[in-house]
Amino acid sequence: MRWIVFIILAALLPLVAGEYYVNLSSQIVIFAVFAASINLLLGYGGLPTLGHAAYLGVAAYFSALLQLKLHYAHWLAAPLAVAGTTAMGCAFGLIALRATGLGFLMLTLALSQVLWGTAYRWVSMTDGDNGLRGLQRPMPFGLDLNQAMPFYYFTLVVGVIAIWLMARFVNSSFGATLKGARDQPRRMEALGYDVWLIRWITFVYASFWGAVAGLLFVYYHKYIHPVSLSLANSAEGLLAVIAGGSGTLAGPIVGAAIVLLLKNWASAYIERWNMLLGFVFVVIVVFMPEGVVPGFQRLWKRFVSRT
């Protein structure tokens, strides 16, 4: 029920807020999809990943390159970009899942760093540090998305569908087995579950949504630069999940909002966003490890039980 209210409020936003805030909200939705895809792995799968920006970035670059070099229209470029990125996710999953826990983390980090470095150095394809510009937004059903408000609604629709599908996923039978594998992998094996396969499927699914977020990202900015593949970007996504609370669906969304708002507010005053990011990381991990949403849920329960 709360979701419907939230969606309605979100839909009404452009009617009351100015263009700046509408654009900011689009960014929040995109980031929320990204964070939610990370949460599939971290919160529900128990697999912390530091390389998720790889899927966002690769999908963005894929789409951009298909557009610029091959002049593909969006209805063709988009599915190709997502499919290609997801295929990459399949391969990366095979490698990263040779380990769990810290090893998995380091492998995902290493893999995404390859792509990051390649994006900088493969100048013939990616134009390196200049990034790729001059991109167009898609025109679904002939609608022009170049204005803030129509793009916001487009993003909102895609975002809602994405979160809804992810919600169905984690609440399904498979989702139950994923959570079981997170909590007691040995026990799950002894009950007949192929834990590796469960994790790999989740990995691929998460990379799919990371790719979708990447498409939205490149549509919004109309520009892509290797920094989007960086560790900092993956870390921001991870921070959003942790800040909001990793075990819930709402957590990454709240976290995404918090991180983006903080970033926007802070960059007006502070030049060095990375340092602030670092500080926030340290503070949240040390003082608020379970995140904002579970904290609020706890307070809410206590409040309700008292009245």
């Binding site: 810290l102 380091m106 290493a110 150095r121 060095r272 340092m275 670092g278 500080f279 990381f281 991990v285």
Partner: protein
């Protein structure tokens, strides 16, 4: 040079199960500190020593006050080290500016050396020699001294070690400082080859990761082998396919992991 970087990382990861993502940043910090020191004392080796000590101090503080609080919360430790890495990176940017600062090669080692028909830059040879020397010292430390024995006991079974009276938490701090010192000194020693520039940390960190994953966690021999193989492959890769050299860097690691999840000489699967 890679070895110096990797050995510290492997030590910290192997002993304390902490993936110290600050390591690259510590390397860079060391390099920058070295730059400043060398403005006053134009001696590379002293600068390396100074940087090593300074970074070790920093590492010790980090471990003692922050990492200690998160004992057992592995993800938390990783995130905190990541956060600190960001802080250091930006602080260096503020402190030393955005332009790369070269570190001059010591004058005695500037001439190339002839050996077995090949010409090598003398400094690079010196770095290799230093790496080997450090490796030997670390090996002796681990295998022959009481300190080393205590550390090894701490790696294998921290609870048992502490029950036997080994000051495990103080050892952890020492190990962390040692690893940090290696990184810091390594930053200066690597200076003439790499210079000090913003982004050095992001370039170095994945290299450290590759070397350690490839060579295996907790094993000095692994760090050495990993560094050697990686350096070798990279040099060849850069020569053959410059655009994709970065990908080639990761290939040995990926191949090894596919067949042996614990790396070449690792004590446990990461």
């Amino acid at each position: 040079m890679l070895f110096l970087l990797a050995a510290g990382f492997s030590l910290i990861f192997g002993l304390m199960r902490i993936a110290n993502l600050t390591h690259g940043a510590l390397f860079m910090l060391g390099a920058y500190i070295g730059v400043t020191v060398m403005r006053y004392v134009p001696n590379l080796w002293l600068a390396a020593l100074a940087a090593g000590v300074a970074v070790a101090l920093f590492g010790g503080l980090l471990e003692r006050f922050i990492l200690r609080k998160l004992g057992g919360n592995v993800l938390g430790q990783v995130l905190v080290t990541l956060g600190v890495a960001f802080i250091i990176a930006d602080a260096c940017l503020v402190g030393w500016g955005g332009d790369p600062i070269p570190i001059p090669t010591p004058p005695t080692l500037q001439a190339p050396v002839r050996m077995a028909g090949f010409v090598f830059p003398a400094y690079r040879l010196a770095v290799v020699v230093i790496a080997v020397a450090v490796a030997i010292v670390l090996y002796l430390l681990m295998e022959r001294t009481r300190l080393g024995a205590m550390i090894r006991a701490g790696v294998d079974d921290p609870q048992m070690a502490s029950a036997v009276g080994i000051p495990v938490s103080r050892l952890f701090t020492i190990v962390f400082c040692l690893g940090a010192a290696l990184a810091g000194a390594g930053g200066v020693i690597g200076g003439p080859i790499m210079s000090a520039y913003p982004g050095l940390d992001s370039d170095m960190l994945p290299l450290a990761l590759i070397v350690v994953i490839l060579g295996g966690v907790g094993s000095l021999l692994g760090a050495f082998a990993g560094a050697f193989i990686t350096g070798f492959v990279y040099t060849f890769g850069v020569a053959l396919l410059p655009d994709l050299a970065y990908v080639i860097l990761f290939l040995p690691m990926i191949v090894v992991i596919a067949f042996r999840p614990r790396g070449l000489f690792g004590k446990f699967a990461a």
